[in-house]
Symmetry: C2
Subunit: 164 residues, 2 copies
DNA sequence: GCCAATTGTTGTCGTCAACAACAATCTTCC
DNA sequence: GGAAGATTGTTGTTGACGACAACAATTGGC
């Protein structure tokens, strides 16, 4: 964009009273500016893009990271437990784990006490990898600080604390 | 969830030292709690679900609402302009407008000054409908207030203001 | 007037949430 | 102890959505 020059319609749109020209950029959002959901959606898109870019070299997306982190902190969890905790559909978790298992980061161990379920564990390389992912994720978090300010980030975390 | 009662495994899992029981609910998130992106994602899911439910009767989703609002506030915009302003792919906007046009809420008017582009307008029923959508969206916004608090909602909007 | 850029459109691909159905297994209850 | 119901992991489908690529029509620069 940037300027967009005079654009097309030089006609000044006879005093319509109601509607304003709206040529270059300044396009009003009207009611949208008062909606938390809109701001949150835009912010979430930005934050995910930065996360994906910052962890691009290791090819780890936000959801994968959350799964690895939870398994790392709670070894032996079942797929149901992980899915519930993270708000992921258990059907979706199947594919996520397939991928992580193929990469030898996670392993499904058949539970002896409940033969329906799998106990999830990080593999040794998985543990090493997660440590690296955490360092990169911390770097991403610093980007967030730079974008919205250290204080605002903390405020945000406090406000949304009970959604985690 | 709610309580989940005593759950299953009453066995106390011998002092394993490293890994904690992790039976019922209390599953640690570890590094995740310090990540703004995780909190924002969960919040965004909640907020969209409430929006979709609150505007369920009129069958309007957040993205459709944002498109209608911007067109309503800036009649005559091109599809490119709307797409850019809302951060939507112009390819995606095509389908959104197809749907909204079929429902007679929006019309594409062939621009006389640039015959490549369409000028977007709300139809008369579209204007009436949007007024109703805005009332419902305001109701949704009250739900947000109830969930995170009036003050926190305002803080949030301020923090994320320049993402809109 | 010619070549590059823009606009709307169509199509493909991959991510993700929401369901539904199913086999294997566990739990409950009689 | 055994039938009935619930749970776990799995497979598949649907629809919203973002990212791209290609295309015809049209406009703009030069």
């Amino acid at each position: 964009m940037t300027a967009t020059a005079t654009r097309t319609s030089p006609r000044k749109r006879a005093g319509n009273g109601a509607a304003r020209p709206v040529d270059g950029d300044e396009i009003g959002l009207d009611a949208l500016v008062g909606h938390a959901g809109y701001a949150v959606r835009r912010f979430q898109i930005w934050i995910f893009q930065d996360f994906i870019r910052t962890l691009g070299d290791v090819d780890i997306r936000p959801t994968q990271y959350s799964v690895l982190t939870v398994i790392g902190a709670n070894p032996g969890l079942s797929q149901m437990a992980v899915a519930k905790r993270l708000g992921i559909e258990r059907a979706r978790l199947v594919h996520l784990l397939d991928s992580l298992e193929q990469r030898d980061l996670v392993k499904r161990v058949k539970s002896s006490t409940d033969r329906r379920s799998h106990a999830l564990h990080l593999t040794p390389p998985g543990k090493t990898a997660l440590a690296k992912f955490k360092r990169l994720a911390a770097e991403h978090e610093r980007h967030v600080e730079e974008r919205i300010g250290k204080q605002n980030r903390e405020r945000l975390l406090r406000i949304l604390a009970d959604f985690t």
